[in-house]
């Protein structure tokens, strides 16, 4: 009857006085739904960002920005659309962060007395160690295997990284991945196939 009305439309239609409690209820419902969604994706999104950026704080920033952006811009959209939108925002943030690092490094390199090449964001080897508490040998082996996967992923072209991460690691179907990547389903399949071939070639020996 009302169709896929957004939260803003729903709220706008409510009379200010009469609808105050209903407004609050609608806000609470939306907040609860968004809370559940974000709680379900936040850790995986963080690991995806951390793998791409190789920096914990940057990854946290990107995830937080993606959460805020989703809430601000798409909080009123049907919740079924959130996941691909969220990951699209997340990857935009990752790319911006990578570009910002590059620009910052170049700008600092231009300043007198700067040593951007030495002091700029460098990969911290400790960042590549899993964050969990030190465990037995089995955990160590899993950590090392994960490090190999991250290194192999990092060697892929960005779009192949995205396709593999979203399709395989995050478990999206082709249509969702295409929405998240902003490309056609055919492109997703091509990127994914190439990523899988490359990873298989790199990891077959060590896994």
């Amino acid at each position: 009857m009302m169709g896929p009305a957004t939260l803003e439309v729903l709220l706008a239609e409510l009379p200010v006085d009469v609808g105050r409690s209903r407004r609050e209820e609608a806000c609470l419902d939306a907040a609860e739904t968004l809370d559940r969604f974000l709680a379900g994706v936040e850790r995986r999104a963080f690991r995806i960002a951390q793998m791409a950026l190789r920096d914990r704080d940057d990854a946290l920033d990107v995830v937080q920005d993606a959460m805020l952006h989703l809430a601000r811009s798409y909080g009123g959209r049907p919740s079924g659309e959130w996941r691909p939108l969220f990951y699209r925002i997340l990857y935009n943030g990752i790319r911006d962060k990578q570009r910002r690092r590059s620009v910052r490094s170049r700008l600092f390199g231009l300043l007198p007395g700067s040593r951007a090449d030495e002091d700029g964001p460098q990969e911290d080897p400790l960042e590549r160690v899993a964050d969990g508490a030190p465990g037995p040998d089995r955990q160590l082996m899993a950590d090392q295997a994960m490090q190999r996967l991250e290194s192999a992923l990092a060697a892929l072209p960005p779009r192949q990284q995205e396709a593999f991460t979203l399709r395989c690691l995050e478990g999206m179907d082709v249509a969702e991945t295409a929405t998240a990547m902003g490309c056609s389903e055919g492109s997703v399949k091509t990127h994914y196939f190439r990523a899988l071939q490359a990873l298989r070639g790199q990891l077959a020996e060590v896994w």
């Binding site: 850790r43 914990r56 946290l60 601000r72 231009l110 007198p112 899993a142 994960m146 990873l199 896994w207």
Partner: protein, 129 residues
């Protein structure tokens, strides 16, 4: 067939490793993610961002333009004496970045950094400053 099986194994193994790494996140990271989520939810409750944020990117973009002008007027050897033969002049590089829109994209994401950067004392060139 064997290839398919192998790929399936690669995918399965990758997924398992990733899931395990997600489960192994430390408490502090989980806590920070939780706080980030609460901030997003508060954003919904507030309805819109603070008004001061709307002009900050513009101020940062202006700062970048000022920085570009300062570097333009700075002699190349002052900016980077060790690489005067191997690198383009600073102004050219900055202008190239600005022309590509990189600086402004960055400014919209990290405006405070560029406001700060512009405030740094640069050595004055030929009458600059």
């Amino acid at each position: 067939m064997s290839n398919d099986e192998r790929w399936t194994g690669t995918e399965r193994h990758a997924r398992q490793l990733f899931d395990a790494s997600v489960e192994g996140l430390d408490g502090e990271t989980r806590s920070r993610l939780n706080r980030a989520r609460q901030a997003a939810l508060e954003e919904i409750a507030r309805g819109r961002a603070s008004p001061w944020r709307s002009w900050l990117p513009a101020a940062a973009a202006a700062s970048i333009a000022l920085l570009a002008v300062a570097l333009w007027r700075m002699p190349a050897e002052v900016a980077d004496p060790s690489a005067r033969d191997s690198r383009p002049a600073p102004a050219a590089e900055v202008v190239e970045m600005l022309a590509n829109g990189e600086g402004f994209d960055v400014a919209s994401e990290d405006p405070e950094f560029y406001v700060w950067l512009e405030s740094r004392d640069l050595p004055s060139g030929n009458g600059a400053g």
